[in-house]
Symmetry: C3
Subunit: 431 residues, 3 copies
């Protein structure tokens, strides 16, 4: 920025501040009654001390404020807090999380046509008020409290800072992160609390035991994605991005630990991630095969269609937990809960989350998925067949299943041709 401009801006800011402080007096006479906590908190805030009054953030159009049209979103705050806004926007917190605003926007490997579900082609403005975690049938009330209470972090600084308090003690306390980073799908709060880091924090303070902010907001940065090497769904980034990010984290670890120690600890997390991913893949293969044979209950064509892929089986990362089959629901738990707990537990050095809440659940759910698959296979043969013992699958049936596997990309065209050849020979040999 041109350094001659700075004093001018500073002067303008001061004038705005004075004006808004003056206006504050007008607001306070009513709002001391109507929103007492807001007024109390503002009065004790750095904003009040700096003469930043109500109008500076809320404007002066009381009609718009009352209609909820003058929301104090991150652009308002970012007008002054430029560095924080820039950091925030570079982080996962700032990107495409807000339910109803296109939460799939920043997923890696997403299907391009999905954009068109929410957007006119080429436009950033959503064309409809879609309530989704990729197409969940959620009520607006559930979306508000169940989704956007957290995901509003994309657009509102108040998600963490709360509305009128400027007390840094609040946002520098790891408690403030718990509000969202908890629960079955990403219990970072719970696993940190009972890790050695969290234990030392509780017993000997932040200097000895690092908290969320120490590692994920180094030097007060609002880029919480520093040092993260995978997508929010647990898919590792490409090698070069992964290396850059890992180096960032190692620098943070190095404030306390020997570099070699930190490198090993994080590499163990990578290994656990890969091993856990293999268990999930095994489950996906079982379910894909059941679908090919028409054995899911209910089959996708007897459920509400997927908005983009119709009645095709969709097992990807944002798998729905509603209107599905029991076995897919088990896979949902594996992917969204067990897998997340295992790998986040490993990176946060929490044995109980890595093993019991993570790995053991992954393996138990895989046991249940195998049993259910066996049940479904028997059941089809019993209800569809002659009611006698399971009939051997005919070569024609095998060919049909093979074709389906090729169609959905589970095997390559070359593999398809090779296996088809084997089956056709089999068919010829048993006339």
């Amino acid at each position: 920025m041109n350094r001659f401009l700075l004093p001018v801006i500073s002067l303008v800011t001061s004038i705005v501040a004075l004006a808004s402080a003056a206006l504050a007096a007008d607001c306070l006479s009513c709002h001391r009654q109507k929103t007492p906590a807001a007024v109390r908190q503002w009065e004790a805030s750095a904003h009040a001390r700096a003469g930043i009054g109500c109008a500076a953030c809320h404007g002066t159009d009381h009609g718009r404020i009352e209609k909820g049209e003058a929301r104090v979103d991150l652009k308002v705050c970012g007008g002054c807090h430029k560095k924080a806004l820039a950091d925030h926007r570079a982080s996962r917190h700032g990107m495409g999380l807000h339910s109803g605003w296109g939460c799939t926007r920043n997923l890696p490997n997403r299907d391009r046509q999905e954009c068109r579900f929410c957007h006119e082609q080429g436009s950033e403005v959503p064309k409809s008020e879609v309530q989704c975690a990729r197409f969940l049938k959620q009520s607006s009330e559930m979306a508000e409290i169940g989704c956007n209470y957290c995901h509003m972090v994309e657009s509102s600084c108040a998600a963490c800072h709360t509305s009128h308090t400027t007390d840094l003690k609040i946002v520098r306390d790891p408690n403030i992160c718990a509000k969202c980073h908890m629960g079955p799908d990403h219990p970072q709060w719970e696993m940190w609390q009972t890790s050695l880091h969290g234990t030392l924090f509780a017993t000997a303070g932040r200097e000895t035991g690092p908290d969320c902010q120490t590692c994920h907001m180094p030097k007060g940065s609002h880029n919480v994605s520093v040092g993260i090497t995978m997508s929010s769904g647990g898919d590792p980034y490409p090698a070069d991005k992964r290396k850059t990010r890992r180096d960032e984290m190692l620098q943070i670890c190095a404030k306390c630990h020997a570099p070699e120690f930190a490198r090993k600890e994080l590499a163990r997390g990578d290994a656990v991630r890969d091993q856990s991913h293999a268990l999930v893949k095994e489950a996906e293969l079982i379910i894909g095969d059941l679908a090919d044979r028409g054995q899911l209950d209910p089959m996708p064509d007897r459920r509400p269609p997927h908005p983009l892929r119709g009645n095709q089986l969709v097992l990807d990362n944002q798998l729905l937990y509603e209107d599905t089959s029991h076995i897919e629901r088990l896979l949902f738990k594996m992917k969204k809960y067990d897998y997340a707990r295992t790998i986040k537990g490993a990176y946060h050095q929490n044995p109980s989350y890595t093993h019991w809440y993570g790995n053991a659940e992954l393996k138990m759910d895989l046991v249940d998925i195998r049993t259910e698959a066996s049940r479904l296979r028997d059941r089809q043969s019993l209800t569809a067949g002659k009611g006698s013992s399971v009939p051997a699958e005919t070569t024609e049936e095998k060919l049909r299943v093979l074709k389906k596997k090729a169609d959905r990309g589970a095997i390559s065209p070359a593999e398809y041709e090779r296996e088809k050849g084997v089956l056709l020979k089999e068919l010829a040999g048993h006339p």
Copy 2:
């Protein structure tokens, strides 16, 4: 009260106090050895400072004390603490919760004959030592530690105040509520802790972040049901009572929030409650239908009979979790755990409890219930039929199921007649 009586009562009280303080000296010589913590806590208590000694609460009959016949229940405390007792009795804490003492007594919509399971007709005294959460087969040990450790709140102030401490710091701390208001069925403690209210409490203190007592014991009242608009099972009160109660809560919210904001937040909880209730109802319909068709495994007539309704299917609010079928056990989880977490999560503004621990579980359990219902339907047709594919239900069978639906009140007599007519016509048309 006659105001001339007051000085007299005051005098009598003082004499009792002095006498009991004198007696305390006799007790202490032994009890300093036998119950050291009780003595230490009493010595540091407001009771000791006011000269209220052992005998004032425990009496002087050592034989009865030793036999456990001189329990210091809420009538003893209420002799002095009259306002607290009156508030307590007006609240849910004071009503019919004590397991074995008729825990169904204050449920809305309860079946009148259920009283007779515990009481002689017209008598308040239980006729038997029934151990129940409506008839669970619970051991006396499990009833003591698993049920009455909390539900004794009906009859004992020590449930919260502990026995000899009078330190208000303890009972004004939200931790004391956690002992009971936690767990899978009503995790109010957990959901508050990680809500914005709880987070602000942890980081900036009670003045900024309200705790249990702030909202549920306003002005130190012992009526914890102020502002609550539904039964403990989540059934909304009748409209007029609901309005009165909501207005009470809005006044509490208004200490910090704009009334319109608070009204909207609570109305969102109402909407989430209604939507969640619909999911539970859908599951109940599925299970009721399976029972009508004799497809539950095991059917109620192959289980221990319900003490009041015999071998009828009972799906009401205090549904048992033992000696039932897998699908009813899933419904139990929906009603008792998922539903409670969803709606209490919404009213306490906790996104993770509302969505992941609540709504997502409701929907996943419904998926599992639908799958199990499909399995049970197929199974009956396979084991009972000719073992071939599912046979079409005969019109006679349809008529029998329709009759059962009418008998258990699932359809009105008019609906029954109408649908019966259709089926009879069908029967006549296909001789």
Copy 3:
């Protein structure tokens, strides 16, 4: 010890201390950069104040240190902290917990031949780097973070004390215990926190509310097994050992409570343990019977063999949660999670863990096990039989099942002969 030796030892120790303090200076110049937290913590430690430098614990062979061959295990610490080491070794913390080092070593009732799975006969040295919780197929990374992060307590004082800090505030805080004593299988941390003891600790401090250390490390002892009356799997000790241990705990309780009160509270825990154990046994009988009839899915002979018992059904205390059947996985949850929560909840006076997280789960899992058993029985008859309704079991089949029961010790030889007689008569009567 010869009392004339003491001053000599003392002198030698002082010389070593001085020498190692001198050496510390050499280490610090590099390690202030390389492991800053370790240096900071050592500088603030009692070790530094007493002149105990790096070499005293780590030695001076930098090559071995770098290769991880100079680990500071409990023998190093125990060289000075003799009483702590002796206490530790007498406790469960000191015995056979370390995964990969023979974790079955100290289990009661273990199969002697199991020793040979890890050890040469007669040798204490493991013959292979077995990664096991009795034979789980665990990766070395999962074993490190998921198992040994806690189980290293057998061999390393740093499991609780952390590496360089000597601040007793840390290890006297119950938080430090949470790192391991939490989670679905032994949530002692969670159940203490929300018990009356934990609540009083949080609100009125350690003097009023006892913590882990108060009861389990009385007078600072490192023998954490004082007063414990059962194995880690929940099997009660023999009567005499049980009595000795109970008396130890009653003495601890007596610091606050009347002996009779404490005795009753702990006896209630015993009763709950026995009642809960009966539910687990009921489930085991159901599963054993299914195995006898070949109805498990998959049967043990279609899974990876047990390292010691091959394809036999193994339902013992360290039951695996992988490569098993759905119904055995449910039993695993009952034994490892539900049972532990119920009984530990009862001994720690936590109603929610005893009842909801414990007893209710035990009963619900039993419901699910019964339903699954019914499903499996029907399924066998449908797939193996003619597809018609369940055929009556032939007498020959009954005889075969009876033989299997006798073979695995579920019935005595006398019972076998008696029941066999009945069946043979039946066979003769229906030619």
